[in-house]
Symmetry: C2
Subunit: 335 residues, 2 copies
């Protein structure tokens, strides 16, 4: 394996978040699955926006947030994802490039428009997402830049990519290129409902070793193995991938390899505002650590630190430089 140009390349649905506070009653009245990513069409997007309170807009997209997080820690990152050549597409491209991430995916000339997710943040800080995929449905193998994949230590993608029709072909191609170049492939299971939609395909990605490193939260792990027992989930995932990283919110995270299990404590959040981006930033911290020679436990602690930072603000990407936060917390971050 030669040295890599990028620590982490991420691939995902390119989305701008529209974020507002809402009461739990609002979720019930509008038939929104709390804590989940709800897919919506253009008509429902219009309807929900008209019912939504005053909002702020911030670039999001799970894997894009992870790339921005890696860059914010001082790592080298790239991103593939599809926007349209419209206002929100310009905002998305500006923000990810301004975060220091290489992003060259060709935008769509016209319709459908850039994806957006209406995110309702309830008083408990939980976020419930309502995503109109728009231009994301056009991501395909033609958007995979082979050289960039070959030059990335880790190619990471989101399970959400199984929702648009052709992105899975893009992922299989990227995984093949990565492995042919001695690189690693990682995925996040994204959302327990998403796991429910694509359980067999996700298990197949893992068991075929298309994916080496899997990120999941407790609900996603349980959904994957259709078990109510966390320990059964851990035992099962140990057999199915090289490295599994399971996050448990305030209970911390668990790093699972064939030989070992590391349980790492969470870093408490003084002021929980909005959980949007927590898992994405955890992955960013972990992957930064992994590509910078940290131990599994250190990777998990850095992931926890990045997640704790992002949940203490509105929006999915930290507004402060994570390299500074990590250095202050005693991590050896190279500048």
């Amino acid at each position: 394996m030669t040295s890599a140009k990028y620590d982490v390349l991420t691939i995902g649905n390119a989305i701008v978040d529209i974020i507002a506070r809402a009461e739990d009653d609002f979720l019930v009245a509008n038939d929104i699955n709390k804590g989940a990513m709800n897919l919506i069409d253009a008509e429902r997007a219009k309807l929900l926006y008209s019912a939504m309170g005053p909002a702020i807009e911030a670039s999001g997209g799970s894997a894009a947030n992870t790339a921005a997080g890696v860059a914010s820690l001082g790592g080298s990152a790239a991103y593939f994802g599809k926007v349209a050549d419209d206002h929100l597409g310009g905002v998305f491209a500006h923000d990810i490039k301004a975060a220091g991430v290489d992003f060259f995916t060709k935008p769509l000339d016209e319709n459908p428009p850039t994806a957006r997710s209406m995110i309702f943040v309830t008083p408990d800080g939980e976020r419930s997402m309502n995503t109109y995929l728009g231009a994301c449905v056009e991501l395909g193998p033609e958007d995979i830049d082979s050289d960039m994949v070959a030059e990335s230590s880790i190619t990471y993608f989101e399970g959400y990519l199984w929702d648009p029709p052709r992105a899975k072909e893009a992922i299989r191609l990227a995984a093949e290129i990565a492995h042919n170049n001695g690189r690693q492939v990682s995925m996040t299971l994204s959302d327990s409902f998403c796991v429910d939609r694509y359980r067999d395909e996700f298990l197949n990605l893992m068991r075929s070793r298309t994916v080496d490193i899997v990120f999941a939260n407790e609900a996603e792990l349980k959904s994957l193995y259709q078990t109510s027992s966390f320990d059964s989930g851990i035992a099962a995932v140990r057999e199915d991938c090289t490295l599994a990283v399971i996050t448990r919110s305030e209970l911390g995270s668990v790093v699972v390899t064939f030989e070992k299990t590391h349980v790492v404590e969470a870093i408490p959040a003084e002021n929980l505002i909005d959980t949007t981006g927590a898992g994405d930033l955890y992955a960013a911290g972990f992957l930064y650590g992994l590509t910078h020679g940290m131990s599994d436990a250190e990777c998990a602690r850095l992931g926890g630190l990045a997640a704790t930072e992002v949940i203490q603000q509105m929006g999915p990407r930290p507004q402060v430089r994570l390299a500074d936060v990590a250095a202050e917390a005693g991590f050896q971050i190279k500048d």
Copy 2:
């Protein structure tokens, strides 16, 4: 004077804010007046955006923030301001209506596009604005809905409206309608550089009693009277309007009438994040109080409370309901 449909009607430049953190060096390198509102053209807007870090977007506009603040306190508010029929215009209209403010100003069909202000927030929390006025330049007397003015206890406008060419005609018309209906007219001096551009016209608005109530911060007051002495400024403004409200950041505020001067302490901010909207929300709290029978000192305290709330977050409008914040602080807020 009959009872009013609206407590406060505000008129201003309808702007979407694009907010990012920046170091002081960035302001120097890009020739940005720190703490000020810098007017820019479309070309410079493009240039600055390309140099700007990752941003969030949030509806802004000084007087619009004030209207949203009045509504957030549970008051009745309306707004006049010009957007274009484009993406940002839709965002602006959504947010102000979702805040509970009546907003019916006809958008421009096409160019220029909706105004935007690139706001750089330095580590000290100070905001430096760079505003491309876009569609705002088309606001004119035809946008003044006479009935709405007649039905508003107070019509409030921003000094910034002297920058676009025809808005001052709209303001003179609105003031005439308001006074003919026994209502009051209020303005904010907006910005010390703005005062410098229109000093004589602002003084004339006050001395002709076109304006009854003036809001200013210390720098704007000093600029208005071209004095370095705060006390001289206070003495001068006492002669020039019925009620003057001077804000002094952490030193609190001073309420000045012909007979009296009230000095009211600030409410300390535990965690200063971004000063954007501080003056606008102060005015919201004060005007809510004034239209709900509070004493001058209570009005000033409520203004201070609303300002302290907004500077502890990113963005110009509080993400929490101000009526709740005020009730918790012991104010008698009717729901």
